[in-house]
């Protein structure tokens, strides 16, 4: 009898049922937390490490980011008579080392995280898609 009361009194299961019922009825601070992604988006923090961005005026094309990239993601290519980094997002670790090492603080990482694409080629972000401050030059 003691064995039955110990094992089959089901007090633990009943306690569990109460907790789950609390969630169903939203009793006590138990809200629904889902963010319905394509319709609503979470705000990313200012430090978020997403797609790169390169300051066109600051970048000197020195290639330090290229050397320091662990996955050889970055290549320095020629664009509009100057040299700029080109990032292959498909291989990028988003570790932020390129941002850390940039001596001119030209490299930044933006909050853009929706980087999926249909082809491998379109994952290579050339300077035309990375540069900002374009209007300053003209």
């Amino acid at each position: 009898m003691a064995w039955i009361s110990k094992n089959w009194a089901m007090s633990g299961i009943i306690a569990g049922l109460i907790v789950t019922l609390k969630h169903v009825l939203h009793i006590g601070n138990r809200p629904t937390v889902t963010v319905q992604y394509p319709y609503e988006r979470m705000k990313v923090s200012p430090r978020f490490r997403g797609l790169h961005a390169v300051d066109e005026n600051a970048c000197i094309g020195c290639g330090i980011c290229e050397i320091n990239c662990p996955n050889s993601t970055i290549q320095i290519v020629k664009y509009n008579t100057k040299w700029y980094p080109q990032v292959n997002i498909g291989m990028c670790l988003f570790c932020g080392l390129c941002v850390d090492v940039c001596p001119m603080n030209a490299m930044k990482m933006t909050g853009n995280y929706e980087l999926a694409d249909y082809t491998r080629e379109s994952l290579v972000y050339g300077p035309d898609r990375l540069l900002f401050n374009k209007e300053v030059k003209q």
């Binding site: 089959w8 299961i13 907790v19 789950t20 019922l21 969630h23 809200p31 629904t32 937390v33």
Partner: protein, 366 residues
């Protein structure tokens, strides 16, 4: 007094003054039985459509309940609050490739989903959805239900064997062991109810629970048979194969149990059968222990409608309990399940039966 759905249809047709002319037409052709067959087909079609819609609703409800427990929304996109999600799921499953494994037993593999699906629908025939809302009030209704639901383990075994997959086979073996050991306490608990009513007919069982003590407390068998109710509920959850007793699938152990290899529409049939079974078993629990469709009679509303509403409310309460339990507890182990079945539930059910029989014979309970 309208006894079953056939007579109800006849009554409605008479009410709209179309039954007589129709009958005359068919009698003139000398084929009265054709009309009868048509009416029977209509009622069966109505039942099946109702059951299938309920099943689709249940899949939606299951996901919603799980989501609510887990602080999520569940399906939200298709239709209002995702209500059309089951339709989309159905469309998706129909569109899937129907894969038959190379070394599977093709015939049995194809046949098994049907053998699972058809009994799941047949169970509803003697189930009273409401006053006179019953396809056929079989005099052995309860026996019929228990017998029909005993077919599904055979189909599961066929499916598991024919898949030629070790996980499927193990799932099937578990399902059979589980079904056999839980049908016994299920039947024993039901027999205790039969002792009280003296009839296997589901309608009689419901009618026996129609009264009320002191005009307030309904005379449901749950109050007379609390132990029997608990045993029946546990055994029926085990019969349904839901957590905490979902050994036939036991996703994290046997991948998906006996339907590991199934895809497309065949998988959908297992899926539908599972939820049809859930609905049927909940309905049986309601009929046997929770007073079936009985409830306060309201004026101006046909008793058929109110009784159907009462029945559905009670059934959904039981279904909600099953879903709620599923979200709370882990799965027990197969040997623990069998221990529970044979060493605890069967003796308790026998004890319950003995006490009930004694009390009925002594005239304390009628």
């Amino acid at each position: 007094m309208i006894a079953n759905a056939y007579e109800l249809i006849v009554y409605i047709l008479t009410l709209f003054r179309v039954y007589e002319p129709l009958l005359n037409v068919f009698q003139a052709l000398g084929a009265e039985y054709v009309l009868r067959i048509i009416i029977v087909l209509v009622e069966i079609a109505v039942l099946f459509v109702f059951v299938l819609l309920t099943v689709m609703f249940l899949t939606w409800m299951e996901r919603k309940v799980v989501a609510m427990v887990q602080s999520r929304y569940g399906p939200m996109v298709t239709g209002p609050r995702g209500l059309l999600q089951p339709v989309m799921d159905g469309v998706k499953l129909i569109g899937k490739e129907d894969i038959i494994p190379a070394k599977a037993d093709r015939w049995i593999f194809t046949l098994a989903p049907f053998i699972v699906f058809i009994p799941a629908l047949l169970v509803f025939i003697p189930l009273p959805f409401g006053e006179s809302l019953i396809i056929s009030d079989l005099r052995v209704g309860l026996l019929y239900i228990i017998a029909i639901s005993a077919i599904s383990p055979i189909a599961i075994l066929l499916a598991g064997w024919a898949s030629n997959n070790k996980y499927s086979l193990m799932g099937a073996m578990r399902a059979v062991a589980q079904d056999i050991s839980y049908t016994i306490p299920l039947a024993l608990a039901a027999i205790a109810v039969v002792l009280l009513t003296g009839s296997l007919s589901m309608v009689d069982i419901v009618n026996a629970q129609g009264g009320a003590w002191f005009g307030v407390i309904p005379q449901w068998f749950i109050f007379i048979q609390p132990l029997g109710f608990i045993l029946f509920l546990i055994a029926s959850i085990a019969e349904m194969g839901r957590i905490p007793f979902d050994f036939q699938e036991s996703e994290s152990e046997l991948v998906a149990g006996f339907f590991t290899e199934y895809s497309g529409m065949k998988f959908a049939m297992f899926f539908l059968a599972e939820y049809a079974h859930l609905f049927a078993v909940s309905g049986i629990v309601v009929t046997l222990f929770l007073g079936g469709w009985t409830g306060p009679v309201l004026p101006f509303i046909p008793v058929q409608i109110t009784s159907l509403v009462y029945f559905l409310i009670k059934t959904y309460a039981v279904i909600f309990f099953a879903m709620w339990l599923r979200d709370t507890v882990p799965r027990v182990r197969i040997d623990q399940l069998l221990n529970l079945g044979w060493k605890i539930m069967v003796p308790l059910a026998l004890l319950n039966l003995l006490v009930t029989g004694f009390l009925v014979t002594a005239g304390v309970m009628v």
